[in-house]
Structure formats: structure tokens, C-alpha cells
């Protein structure tokens, strides 16, 4: 990790009030602490219900935080609201899982891409248009895409639009919530390449939320493994994937199928042996 962390999460807790009288609240996240360095990619891995998406939403201020702190570039942003929260948008952005839902189908792409630029309204119309053209070129879409509507694009192209929106103001940190899980594998590879390229040129850090350990190994420098709202393992991605320490991580690694029949047969045999031994 290099220098001061761009994101520091300290003892984060998220609880939802339960239905019913005097029932204790439901805990989604408990005592989660981690850091993301400048221009670093940190993966947050977990299965459904592990709370990985909630952590991303809590950092973005989309979900109220019950305890702990979120520091962005050394500044406490845990409970910022209103205008102060909106001004964070130049440093903190997000790419969501579903590129079909994250773009308003009734707005032309150009207007969606202009949204991050509206916050400080110092730009002229021509500047905004030039900036959008530059963004589209950067994510590999034709310039006239700005005048079209999201339904006219494929899933991969829409995710490129969402990526363009996220990098519009050169943020320091982008929360990527399963950005490729709705895409085909060939499209996913292209989208991951694009994210790597943008990181090289813009120097942004990624908090990469995913359920797919195989993607993590190839894409993220460090990995946090989340189970039931707590971090159970943390380390370099290669270490976590090749030499998992925690029992849950071992189960995750063992269950991930690899695209190689002979190797997969061997891995499956190992897995079933372990399962038979523990059962």
C-alpha cells in the first residue's frame, strides 16, 4: 500500500430496526475495518447476504451507518448529508451491478453523463459537450452515443456508459458493486481491461465488490473475505486464493469451478474428500 489510504473504514456497523415490539435490531455489518490505498484495487468478496453490498452503500452514504467511521482521504464522511455529501461526488463515485437499471432509460446518454458535471456549474455548454465526447472516446464508444438512449445499447456498452459516468470527474475512489456479474464472460473481460486501463491513466482506487473469487485473483491486489457481515480473512489476493487460511475462505476457493476439466476433477475430488472428513 502506498501513502495515506484514500478510504479508511473503522469499526463500521449497520443495523436495521426489526419489525415487532422490542425485538433487537438485525445486524447486517458488524465491526468491519479496512483501508484502501491510493490507486489500489481492494476486493470485497462474499456470498449473498454477507453484507458486501451494504458496505459499499454505507461508504456512499446510501445506507445509514449505525456505528463506526468512514474516512475518505482522512476526512470523516460517515454522516455527511445534503450539500456536503453531494460535494464528495468529485472524489467518490460508483459503478453498479445492473447496467440496465443504473441508467435512466428516458434520458439520452449525454444527459446522464453530464450529471456529475452539474454539481459545480462552472462549465459552459460547449465544455460539457467536449468533456462528454472525451469520456465516450475513453471508454470506447462512438461520439454520437451521447444522443442515443440506454435501451439502444447492449449490456456491455451500457456498463461502459456507467463507467464513463463514474470517471467523469476523475474521482479518487470508485465503489464497483459487482460491475461485471450481469455481463457475458467475453464482455466481462473487456470491461475489466477497461477498468485497469482507467486506473493506470487516472490513478483511481477501486473497492471491488464481488462474489467471484476467480475475478478477484486476476483483478485485485488485496482481498477481504466477508461472511455474515464480518471480515474473516484479509490479504494479498494471490495468497487468499492460493493459500486460504479461514475455513470459510477454503470452502469458497474449493467450490469455485475452473475452466479445465482435468484440473477441476482433481479439485472436486479434494473438495469432496474434505467435506467427507468434516461431515
Amino acid at each position: 500500500m502506498t501513502g495515506t489510504p484514500i478510504l479508511k473504514v473503522d469499526g463500521l456497523a449497520v443495523r436495521y430496526p426489526s419489525r415487532g415490539f422490542r425485538k433487537p435490531p438485525t445486524t447486517v455489518i458488524e465491526d468491519v475495518s479496512f483501508e484502501v490505498g491510493c490507486a489500489e484495487t481492494v476486493a470485497l468478496v462474499g456470498e449473498s447476504g454477507s453484507g458486501k453490498t451494504t458496505i459499499g452503500r454505507a461508504v456512499l452514504g446510501l445506507t445509514p451507518v449505525s456505528g463506526g467511521r468512514v474516512l475518505l482521504d482522512g476526512r470523516d464522511v460517515t454522516r455527511l448529508t445534503g450539500r456536503a455529501r453531494r460535494l464528495l461526488s468529485s472524489d467518490l463515485q460508483a459503478i453498479f451491478q445492473n447496467p440496465y437499471g443504473s441508467l435512466n432509460p428516458a434520458l439520452p446518454v449525454g444527459r446522464t453523463l453530464a450529471e456529475p458535471l452539474l454539481v459545480d456549474s462552472a462549465r459552459s455548454r460547449d465544455e460539457v459537450r467536449a468533456h462528454i465526447a472525451e469520456l465516450l472516446r475513453r471508454v470506447g464508444l462512438p461520439e454520437d452515443a451521447a444522443d442515443r438512449y440506454p435501451p439502444q445499447f447492449s449490456g456491455g456498452q451500457r456498463q461502459r456508459i456507467a463507467i464513463a459516468r463514474a470517471v467523469a470527474r476523475k474521482p479518487k475512489l470508485i465503489i464497483c458493486d459487482e460491475p461485471t456479474s450481469a455481463l457475458d464472460v467475453t464482455t466481462q473481460a473487456a470491461a475489466l481491461n477497461l477498468l485497469s486501463e482507467l486506473q493506470d491513466t487516472l490513478g483511481c482506487a477501486y473497492l471491488f465488490i464481488t462474489h467471484d473469487l476467480a475475478v478477484v485473483k486476476e483483478f485485485a491486489a488485496r482481498t477481504l473475505v466477508l461472511q455474515h457481515g464480518r471480515i474473516v480473512e484479509e490479504g494479498r489476493s494471490t495468497d487468499v486464493c492460493d493459500r486460504p487460511q479461514h475455513a470459510y475462505t477454503r470452502r469458497l476457493v474449493a467450490a469455485a469451478p475452473v475452466p479445465d476439466p482435468v484440473l477441476q476433477r482433481r479439485r472436486r475430488q479434494q473438495r469432496t474428500d474434505v467435506e467427507a472428513a468434516t461431515a
Partner: protein, 582 residues
């Protein structure tokens, strides 16, 4: 960087005109003509009216229709047509004012409550409850006591109180809208609530405004004319529709004709408002149901030529098989003359990305193509039965007992209102594998649930779907598919919605079912890891064509087609040593 194919050139606005298609429906179309026609006539009353509305012709009172007075004259000899044209003005102005207030308050209160939530929501909802519980007509009479004979004051009051109903509709739509991902994305982009409401929420809600506005217009018309009838809205000699009904009612015994003319016009207008509103609502409903293809007409199935059944001992054989869908631009071929054979006891992968035609192929084998799709060439055989062209009754018998389906989303395959046991029992009775006796069925349920490795099958059978995890539900769906002891099981992305640890268990189960029952499994998937783990042989499909076919070893170690190579390279692997980041 990879190049991205250019998006389609056509630039169509996705916004829909709520009136589109109304001309194909005679009743709402006629009602719309009536509303617009009468309104225009009333607006241009000075040009159209044959006489001034107050001019009396005392020689011709109550004359009935004549050349000079097309709709006759009233008790003072005033021209009825002219009075109707001029008299519509206070009525329509009143209705217009009421609708404006109704739409403005309904929209803004509903949107503020629904988007901002919190205490704003609570205050607004409390106000709306009060507005709905107060009798609006009595308040209006009180207002008229202060602003005597003020049409505007009365109708503004009516519009305001009625807006509470609209505000509730808008509020609940707005609550749903603010959960949309693009609203979150706009918040992350740094947009404030005012901008989000203006850009993202308001345009989505205006479409919902039209139906309540038309229905309310009918009500407002009835109330305005009612006030006119009572003489509360328009001072006496000036004409108004309500006032004309009042005048006609006084001479009802002498001449009921005038009552029909004035009352009939009000009724016609009020009815038309309502019919336009209903028509628009029906159109909206149709649009929501007919998403996707505009054409529901099936592709003309060119009777598949009588290809001979291949005799290679296959349990399922597909030869020269094509499937096409009817679209707005004519038939589109999505599966293009594919051929493959599945042997007994084999797990056969149908591999491809979205749009490759793999799922459509699987569904067509079960006779479950959507109504606008059809098999256009070739045929499929299940053992010796030719599936293509089989009547629906036969297909129903075969489905479940010879060939069964496990789909991607187990929650959707089960009915949330019934217990697992009762849903299994239904399938067991239908496939008639056992006699209908209760304990025999119960025994079979236990057997099936045990065969999919569920511990405590009796407990599972008593539960409802929402009480069980996704992995358990998928096992139950597999158990249902097994109820008829099918020869072929088609599993369409059976683990895509599941976590990876759960996926491993389901794939283990499929493998063991194949080993125990010797049935063939067609595994439709996009995941090459799953293929490597589970399949014996596979075909790789790209845009409706088979590009690669063979044993999994051949496909993974000796891929011939560039697309297969690209797929394998693109699939991330946890076992690969070289990462993108060293």
C-alpha cells in the same frame, strides 16, 4: 482495448405517447372526439353561435328545433344552441381550474412525500388523511358563502380536496421509483433532491397523471353543473349548463324536451371523460404486458421436411433444427440448423453467451417456445418419438414424464402459497407414477426429497417456499422434475442464481442423479467452469450456430474455433497462476 460494435443507428425516443393506439379502440376514440369537439365548439362559441345567448324572441318561446333555432328556444325564447355553446364556458373553465389545482397539488404533495420520506412524508400523509376525511362539497358551499357565486373559488376548492387521492397514488409510485438504481446513481453523481425529482422522477410520473385527470374531469364536471343548477356558480341571466338544467326542470311538466338537451349534453360529456380515462388505462395495461416484441403473430412454420430419425442410439436427437421469432421487422432466425445427439446417461452441455440461442433451443424441446416463436426447419426426437409437430396434448403427457425442466430461478418455479409437500403431490398425481392413495403419495414425496439429498424430508414437505434457502429450493425443483422419472432432464442455468458453495452442491447432485438413474441431462450454461466440472460432452453455440462440438477434453484442450478459444481465455480461473496484476 477491445473494439465495441457500433450501436444501432436508428434514434427512437423511448418515451411513449399515452394516446398511441387509442384510434384502434372505437369507444375511447369516439369519447375523445366528443370531449375535444365539444370543448372546441365551446371555445369558439362567439363564432359558432347563431344568436347572442341573452337575445329573447318572445314570439317563439319553447319552439322546438327549427331552421332559425337548430335546438329550439327556451321559455324566454332564447336560442338553446347558443346558450349551450356559451354556457359551456363557465363549466369548462371551472373544470379546467379544478384539474389544474388537482394535478398540481396531487403531483407536488405526492412527490415530496414519496421522495423525501421522513418527517415530510409523515406530515403530508397526515394532511392528506384530513383532506380525504373532510366532506369537500360542504367546504365548497362554505367557500361559496364567502365568495358568493364565484365559480373559480368553488372549483379550486374541489380540485384541492380531490388532489389528496391523486397524491396518494403519486406517492406510492414515487416510493417505488426512488429505489431504482438510476436514482441511486444520480445521488452518487452528486445531484440534489430537487434536480433528481426534476430529471428522474417527474418525467416518469407524468405518464401516470393522465388517467386520474380524465376520471376526475368527469367528476368535476358533474359538481360544477350541480352548483350551476343550484344557482351558486353563475349569476342568473348568463347561461350555464347547470343553470339550463335548472330552468328546464321548472317547466318539466310543460315541455320535457329542454331537459333532455341540457342534461343529455352534461351526461354525454361526463361519460366521455370517464371513457377516455378508462381507455387510456387499458392502453397502459396493454403496453406493460406486451413488452418486447410488438408482434405476437407466430412465425409461419414451414412444415419441417420429414427428416429421417438418425439411428445412433441417442436418447435425444436434434437434426437441422432452426427456430425463428416474429419481430416487427419480419421473422428473425435465432437458431440456425443445428444438429446434435445426447446419449443415455450423459451430461451434455449447451454452452453459449446471451443471444446464442441455447435457452431457446432447450425450451423448444419441451414445446415451450413463446407464441411468436416456431421451429422452422428440422426436427427433434426423444428416443423414437418425434417431438416437432406433436400436438399439445401429447406434449403435455411427455413433459414431466419423459422430459423435464429445471429452470434458473427456483423461487419462480414454486408457488409461494402452497407447501412443498402439496406442490410435489400435485406433480406426482399428474405424472401418475403412483396410485392416488394418500400414503403412497406421501411415501413418494419422502423418496423424492431424499433423492435430492435433503435432510429431514418430512419437515421440508411441511414448509412454504419462503422458509427455505435458494439451494434447498433448487433441490426441490429438481425433485419435482424427477417425479415422473424422465429420460432427459433439461437444466437451464440451474446454478446461476446461487452462491458458489451452493452451486457446487447442486452440480454434485446432478452428477449423482445421472449415476443413479442413468438419465441424460442437458445442462444449459454460460459458465465454462460449470461445463468443465459437470459435462461429458458439449456444444458451443454462437449466435444460433454450433461452432464447436465434442468431449469436454477436446473442447478445453483442443479448441478448433476462435470463439471457443476466446471464451476459455475470458473465463477467469482461480487456479490460473498469471494474474493481470503481478
Amino acid at each position: 482495448m477491445t473494439t465495441v460494435e457500433a450501436p444501432p443507428k436508428a434514434r427512437s425516443r423511448p418515451r411513449i405517447n399515452p394516446f398511441a393506439g387509442i384510434w384502434r379502440r372505437p369507444v375511447p376514440a369516439a369519447a375523445l372526439v366528443v370531449v375535444v369537439g365539444i370543448s372546441v365548439a365551446v371555445i369558439f362559441a362567439p363564432l359558432l353561435a347563431p344568436h347572442p345567448p341573452l337575445a329573447q324572441d318572445l314570439l317563439h318561446t319553447l319552439s322546438g328545433p327549427s331552421a332559425n333555432h337548430p335546438l329550439g328556444t327556451d321559455a324566454l325564447g332564447r336560442d338553446v344552441l347558443s346558450r349551450l355553446l356559451y354556457g359551456g364556458r363557465p363549466t369548462l373553465i371551472g373544470v379546467g381550474l379544478a384539474v389544474l389545482v388537482y394535478a398540481f397539488f396531487g403531483m407536488s404533495l405526492g412527490m415530496l412525500a414519496g421522495y423525501l420520506r421522513g418527517w415530510t412524508d409523515r406530515v403530508i400523509v397526515a394532511v392528506l388523511d384530513v383532506m380525504l376525511s373532510v366532506p369537500a362539497v360542504i367546504i365548497t358551499l362554505a367557500v361559496l358563502a364567502i365568495f358568493y357565486q364565484s365559480n373559480a373559488a368553488a372549483m379550486l376548492t374541489i380540485g384541492f380536496f380531490a388532489s389528496a387521492g391523486l397524491a396518494r397514488i403519486i406517492r406510492s409510485s414515487c416510493i417505488a421509483l426512488r429505489e431504482e438504481l438510476f436514482v441511486d446513481a444520480a445521488r452518487v453523481s452528486g445531484l440534489g433532491p430537487a434536480r433528481i425529482m426534476a430529471r428522474h422522477i417527474l418525467p416518469r410520473l407524468t405518464g401516470q397523471l393522465l388517467v386520474p385527470v380524465f376520471l376526475f374531469s368527469g367528476n368535476a364536471l358533474a359538481i360544477q353543473t350541480g352548483l350551476g343548477f343550484l344557482g351558486l356558480a353563475t349569476p342568473a341571466p348568463a347561461p350555464s349548463w347547470g343553470g339550463m338544467v335548472g330552468d328546464a326542470a321548472q317547466i318539466m311538466q310543460q315541455d320535457p324536451y329542454l331537459l333532455f338537451v341540457s342534461g343529455g349534453l352534461i351526461g354525454l360529456m361526463s361519460l366521455s371523460f370517464g371513457l377516455v380515462g378508462d381507455g387510456l388505462r387499458d392502453l397502459e395495461q396493454d403496453r406493460r404486458q406486451a413488452t418486447g416484441g410488438r408482434l405476437r403473430r407466430p412465425v409461419p412454420a414451414t412444415a419441417p421436411e420429414n427428416a429421417a430419425k438418425p439411428s445412433d442410439g441417442a436418447v435425444l436427437a436434434v437434426r437441422d433444427y432452426s427456430i425463428a421469432f416474429a419481430t416487427a421487422h419480419g421473422p428473425r432466425t435465432v437458431v440456425d440448423s443445428i444438429s446434435f445427439s445426447v446419449r443415455p446417461g450423459e451430461i451434455f452441455g449447451l454452452v453459449g453467451e446471451s443471444g446464442s440461442g441455447k435457452t431457446v433451443t432447450g425450451l423448444s424441446l419441451l414445446g415451450l417456445l413463446p407464441p411468436n416463436g416456431a421451429v422452422t426447419s428440422g426436427a427433434a426426437w426423444l428416443a423414437d418419438t418425434r417431438l416437432s409437430g406433436l400436438p399439445e396434448r401429447e406434449l403435455q403427457r411427455i413433459r414431466g414424464s419423459e422430459i423435464a425442466l429445471v429452470s434458473q430461478e427456483p423461487m419462480l418455479a414454486l408457488d409461494p402459497y402452497f407447501t412443498i409437500g402439496s406442490q410435489l403431490a400435485e406433480v406426482i398425481r399428474r405424472t401418475a407414477a403412483v396410485s392416488g392413495r394418500k400414503d403412497a403419495v406421501r411415501e413418494r414425496i419422502r423418496e423424492l426429497l431424499t433423492s435430492v439429498h435433503l435432510r429431514d424430508p418430512d419437515d421440508v414437505a411441511r414448509r412454504h417456499p419462503h422458509e427455505l434457502s435458494g439451494g434447498m429450493l433448487q433441490r426441490i425443483v429438481i425433485a419435482m422434475a424427477l417425479a415422473g422419472s424422465p429420460k432427459v432432464l433439461i437444466a437451464d442455468e440451474p446454478t446461476t442464481a446461487l452462491d458458489v458453495t451452493v452451486q457446487a452442491g447442486i452440480l454434485d447432485l446432478l452428477r449423482s442423479l445421472r449415476d443413479e438413474h442413468g438419465m441424460a441431462i442437458i445442462l444449459i450454461t454460460h459458465d465454462l467452469g460449470v461445463v468443465a466440472d459437470t459435462c461429458d460432452r458439449a456444444i458451443v453455440m454462437e449466435q444460433g450456430r454450433i461452432v464447436e462440438e465434442g468431449s469436454v477434453e477436446d473442447i478445453f484442450y483442443r479448441p478448433r474455433h476462435a470463439y471457443t478459444k476466446k471464451l476459455i481465455e475470458s473465463t477467469p480461473s482461480i487456479a490460473r497462476t498469471e494474474g493481470r496484476i503481478a
